[in-house]
Symmetry: C2
Subunit: 308 residues, 2 copies
């Protein structure tokens, strides 16, 4: 088993979907990543920042799952990052209503000393220079660096993003972002161009249409589980990344074949995440439920054709 | 092996894509279906109609592949159905430039006597009453009736469509059409509502995102092979239907498990169809190429997770 360092936001979210709305609830990329990865009982550490308004019980909730939170800086007189969004009826698009960076504005992540030798580093969605600063703190080259990012950084920090992704092994990105980053419509061509930017492995997330894993000429396609309803997509991409990196940290096998399994675990956990608001479903997730849904994924995708 | 009756258009198409444009070339739903099904060497018959302007060599091209064309009526002083369309840059949408129904306007399909006992009937996209008239001519209840349709008939012949689909075992339909037919956004819910309309099996085609097969609570998801470029999507859906029904006719096994394989064969053949204009790729397709691509589909989708 490898140690896993996770960097990303810990936040308050307020969410509105066609099914209802929430007050400020627990959110943030590294929260979702950490909760997903905790399903594999890996030794993980969340590196983040919150304000004095952040409840201790939320930190305890992570600690209780064996997630080290000593790298979560608490700015007593600051306010926690707050995001509010409203999803459209098709759940595939959303409007951001509020973004209050608050303490995130001056986030200078410090990786705890005893995690600077972690084998796996999961760089959650953040400014690419902040992601890079985490990599620079590692005192041993990690075996696997996974980076998640989004279009926002392509719009406002493209050079920094290009610099950071030179240093990562895997990038997870959605289909529209892959197209924006490369100027290519075909995801096959886009993945090849992203390979050339650095990452040996490219994961393209397609929401309800699943996820693609590219490595040189190899491709793997994991569908999303068809769901009766998506209640709240918030955190699904982070949960995918957490399941992906957590499984790889647990198995300590960074081959393409094992990454296929990591993609399936990521998709499986993400399929739970969207069933309730925020982190609610992930917090109450039982290991038996995960196993049962993995079986559904097998039935969903496996077939038996004899080739001549 | 079962006999296969195919009803659908035989047509001239003129196609414009970002990669180029064609003059009038061979097209039509039953042409693509027949060509795809011919990969399984089934005893098939195309039931259709053409004008005196339709070249004998095109009919020979079907006959050469062991497709019976005695059910293709030739109206000597009529003109063949003509469709012209232009695809947008993303290839996911198109504008119809010309639709000349010509002989299709009075199409009264006659199933050849020696195919009225066929075990499998593939109803290609046509007016639902025309599809129904083919079913009424069968003198033995087919073991499997597959129907393909599109939004056009939902707009202008919804009652007839509802009547016809009561009598089919499998419907193939795209995602937007499934939503239109049921008023449901969730494809899981839409499939359930379509089940209630008659078909025990529902195939929802999602283009570049693959295809879903529903049967009661069972779901199977076949991705589309990620392609560098889609040259011309014309006929891909029909090719899928032809591969699907042709494989089932060949294997004579209409179980859900075998339908998974049929979906994979349909997707595999469709992945070739889009590589060139019109029928060009399908006409020159070699069996070794199909086997090779099936292997790609296996690598694309199969994984090996041990469940506890």
């Amino acid at each position: 088993m490898s140690k896993l360092v996770i960097v990303g936001t810990v936040a308050f979210d307020a969410i509105e979907t066609p099914f209802g709305k929430t007050d400020k609830i627990l959110g943030g990329a590294s929260t979702f990543i950490g909760l997903a990865a905790s399903n594999f009982n890996v030794d993980s550490s969340v590196v983040s920042i919150v304000g004095g308004d952040f409840p201790q019980e939320y930190l305890d909730l992570l600690s209780d799952r064996n997630i080290d939170v000593s790298g979560v800086e608490i700015i007593k007189d600051g306010k926690t990052f707050f995001w509010s969004g409203k999803y459209h009826n098709d759940m595939n698009s959303r409007d951001t209503l509020v973004t209050e960076l608050n303490v995130l504005e001056h986030f200078n992540p410090i990786v705890p000393e005893n995690y600077r030798d972690a084998e796996v580093v999961m760089l959650g969605n953040l400014h690419p220079s902040v992601q890079m600063s985490v990599l620079n703190q590692m005192n041993k080259e990690p075996k696997l660096v996974v980076l998640d990012t989004m279009n926002f950084w392509m719009d406002c920090a493209l050079n920094e993003l290009h610099e950071t992704i030179k240093h990562v092994d895997v990038i997870t990105i959605n289909d529209e972002e892959a197209r924006q980053l490369t100027g290519e419509y075909s995801l096959v061509v886009a993945a090849r161009k992203i390979h050339e930017m650095g990452p040996k492995y490219v994961v393209i997330k397609k929401g309800e249409h699943g996820a693609l894993l590219f490595h040189n000429d190899n491709v793997f396609y994991a569908p999303a589980l068809p769901l009766e309803e998506v209640f709240d997509p918030t955190g699904a991409g982070d949960t995918f990344a957490g399941g992906f990196s957590g499984y790889l940290a647990k198995t300590n096998d960074f081959s393409f074949e094992n990454m296929k399994n990591a993609v399936i675990y990521g998709s499986t956990l993400a399929s739970f995440c969207v069933e309730k608001f925020g982190t609610e479903r992930m917090i109450n997730l039982k290991s038996g439920e995960v196993q049962k849904r993995l079986k559904q994924f097998q039935q969903l995708t496996q077939f038996d054709i004899e080739l001549s």
